[in-house]
Structure formats: C-alpha cells, structure tokens
C-alpha cells in the first residue's frame, strides 16, 4: 500500500525509523524526569496532613495513569491488527504489554508504600488499588495467552480478542470495585484523596507523567525492534542489516 498511513505499517520500513526515534524519546524522558523530580521532591512544599510521605504520588499517580493508558493503546493496536491484518500493529500491542504490566506493578508497589504510613497496613482495599491489581492480572493474562500459543498469527489474534474484551470490562470492573469499596468502608479512607493540590504539586505530577509516557514509548519501540527481528528472522532484509554483518 502506498498511502502514507500504511507506508510505515511494514516492519521493513518501521525498523530503522524506530531506531532513529528511540534516542529522542529517551532525551525527552530524561528532561521531564529530572525537572519533574526536582519540582516534586525539592520545590513542592511539605503537606500539612501527610508530611513528606505524600511525595510518593509523584511516582504512584504517573505509573497508574500510564498503566491504564497503555492498556487502552495496546487494545487499540491489537484491534487494528485484527481488523486490517497488519502484522506490525499486533507487534506493537505485544511490545507495549510488558511495559504496561510494569507500570501496573509500580503503581501497586508505590501505592502500598504510600498506604502503610498513612493507614497502617501494607494493602488497603482501596477501589483504585484493587482495580490496579485486576489490571495487572489482565496484562498478565494477555502475555500468558500469547506465550501459550505457538503459532504467532493465532497468538496475536487470540490475545487481541482478549485485550478487547478486557478493555470493555475495565470500566465495569472499576465501577463495581468502587461500589464494593464504598459499601464496606464508607467514606473513610481513600488513597485517591490526595492532599489538596498546591500548584507545584500539580506541576510535579504532570511532569513525571510526561516522563513516564516518554519512557514507555522508548521502551515500547525498543521491544518492538526486538520483536520485529525475531519474527522476521527468515526475511532477507533482516540479514542485510548492519547488525547482522
């Protein structure tokens, strides 16, 4: 297909382009990260109720956002692969999944470390954390299903159906967990009740979110290049690459 949209849908053309893009995303991630950490850890004031422990939100919230964002993007690419039969789309979905799962894990870890000093227990059955745990299971299910099927095309398509079913279910799951949480805990504790946001706190979260976003793209593109090489190993263009010399 010669339309520009489909031009880069071929792994052949995308592989070198991805290679050129990756350093830029690393640079963006580093810049946002350094500024974001500076703002969050040094400039933002100490919170009245939560002391300096609240600073974990500068990692927790971006990780949560990215875990959910990546899942939706992953499902979108998987859907594109199903609908248009483009190999690269399915590879993008597969490349994003581990990074998304990592973000979900970090969200849970930082959430636990935030909750422990505030509410006294390592695990708080807060609606957001519980939904995050279920999201992690959805990521792991996607990866496990893909890994269990030997034939790559079938694996791509089966995992794509799973991702789409998952993406429809995520709002339902979140709603049901929120319902369950308010029933059992009333309006008491909630990790979502972050301190009243000073300007600097908002900036810190935004910058760190951008940092995680740029990082996720860089990691995803790197993994995508590895996947392309693995899948297309039989193709002649792969053997012409400088890396293969």
């Amino acid at each position: 297909m010669s339309s520009p949209f489909f031009r880069f849908a071929s792994p052949v053309r995308f592989y070198p382009m991805a290679g050129k893009l990756i350093p830029w995303f690393w640079m963006a991630a580093s810049v946002f990260g350094l500024v974001g950490l500076y703002v969050g850890f040094m400039v933002a004031p100490t919170d009245a109720t939560q002391g300096d422990g609240y600073r974990i939100i500068f990692l927790h919230v971006p990780a949560s956002w990215m875990s959910m964002f990546i899942y939706v993007v992953m499902a979108g690419w998987a859907a594109a692969g199903l609908a248009f039969h483009t190999r690269l789309s399915s590879m993008v979905a597969l490349a994003l999944a581990p990074t998304g799962a990592l973000m979900a894990f970090l969200s849970l870890w930082t959430g636990a470390l935030w909750g422990k000093p505030m509410w006294g227990t390592w695990w708080v059955w807060d609606a957001r954390l519980t939904s995050e745990l279920i999201l992690l299971f959805l990521y792991l299910g996607f990866l496990a299903l893909h890994a269990a099927i030997d034939e790559p095309k079938r694996a791509d398509r089966a995992a794509a159906v799973l991702a789409l079913v998952g993406v429809v279910n995520v709002p339902i799951i979140y709603f049901s967990v929120k319902w369950w949480n308010t029933l059992h805990q009333g309006s008491s504790v909630s990790l979502t009740k972050a301190p009243a946001m000073a300007q600097t706190m908002l900036w810190g979260m935004l910058l760190m979110a951008l940092c995680f976003w740029m990082y996720s793209i860089a990691a995803g593109l790197t993994r995508l290049r590895a996947i392309i090489l693995e899948r297309e190993a039989q193709a002649s263009w792969v053997l012409q690459l400088p890396e293969a010399a």
Binding site: A148, V161, L183
Partner: protein
Amino acid sequence: MKAIDAPVAATREFRAAPREGSPVLAVLQRDLLLAMRRKGEVLTALFFFVIVSSLFPLGIGPEPALLRKIGPGVLWVGALLATMLGLQRMFASDHADGTLEQMVLSSAPLPLLVAGKIAAHWLVCGLPVVLLAPVLGLQFDLDAASLATLTLGLLIGTPVLSLLGAIGAALTLGVRGGGALLSLLVLPLYIPTLIFGAGAVQAQLSGLDPGGHLSLLGALLALSLFIAPWATTAALRISLE
C-alpha cells in the same frame, strides 16, 4: 443389532442432516445428551461447590454471626469456581472429534450455535448450583429472605459466568496449560458479577434493599448476552483457522 446410544445418534444426525428447525435447539439437545452421558464430570463440579462451602466454616470457625458475614461471599466464590471447572469441557470434546469444525463450516450462523452450547453449559453446570445454593446457605445461618436473594442472584449471575467463560474457553482451545491459563483469563472478568451478587445478599442481611445489586446483575447479563456470543465466535474462528 447393537443399540446405538442416544448421544452418538444425535451427533451423527447433527452432522448428516441439513440444518432445519432451530440450530440453537439442535446444539442444545445434543450437548445435554452428551452431558448426561458423562454425569461424572458434572457431578464433580457440584461436589466441589458443596465441599468448598463446607471447608470455609471448618477453616474459620462456627459462630453464626461470622458465618452469616462470610456466607454470601463463600457461596458466590464457590459457584464461580465450580462453573470454571466445567468451562474447558464446552468446546474441548467437540474440537477433538471434529464436530466443532463442522459447526464452524455449517451454514447455520455460528453465534447461534455458540449460544446453544453456552445454554447447555449453564443448564448442566450453572442451574444445579442455583438449586443447591439455598440448601448450602442454611449452613451459614442465612434467613429465608437472604436465601431468596442468593438464589435469585445466582440465577441471574451464573449465565453471565457461562457466557464470559465461553470466551475464555474458545480462546484457550487446545492450548497447553489450558486450565490454569483459562482461570487467569476469566476470573478478572468474573469480579463484577461476584461483587454485585454477594453484595445483594449482604444488603439483604443488613436490612437494605438488594434491588440495586440485582438490577446491576441484570445489566451484566444483558451486556454479556450481547457481547459474549460474538466474542466467542471470533475466538473460535481464530482458534480453528
């Protein structure tokens, strides 16, 4: 002359005859006949439900107040797990003997055939759970109104479990590590049903109206009836190509 038993005859008839009458009923009837043949597997899931429900009080303690608190959750989780035990059976044996491919190739719309299989699964695995639950609920000292809420909730919720489970069963058809993988895929999807189902009974126990929870369960049923046959059909085609 050797008597041909009913399920084998049903299979032959299904394969040979042109598709007249309702394809859903044909598939349903055949699956029920086959399930009757393999009563053992069906009863295993039921026994599992019974035993799991007894294990929790044994593990936790017999005080009635405590049992009433954990009862709804335990029974719903037991129902979930018992349904899951029967899921792989939905497509596996038909896949093994080639009937499934015939179904996919037949002129009858595949979503309807799939709906028939899901209905059979529910009649065989889900309905017995619904019927047993009030009896087991007595073990947890639940009162009549709560038992009614439990049963009604399971009646609405177990079809959802069969519907969503069918998607997982179709995706993992013939895949190694099938059972464990199927659980990983399907259990997160079951969580809203669990929350609303058990929540309904808990509401009833606290003297509140369980109507809201039950309506939400109804909404889940409507949504799954809409989505699951199509997703399962897509998954079957992917697994069989």
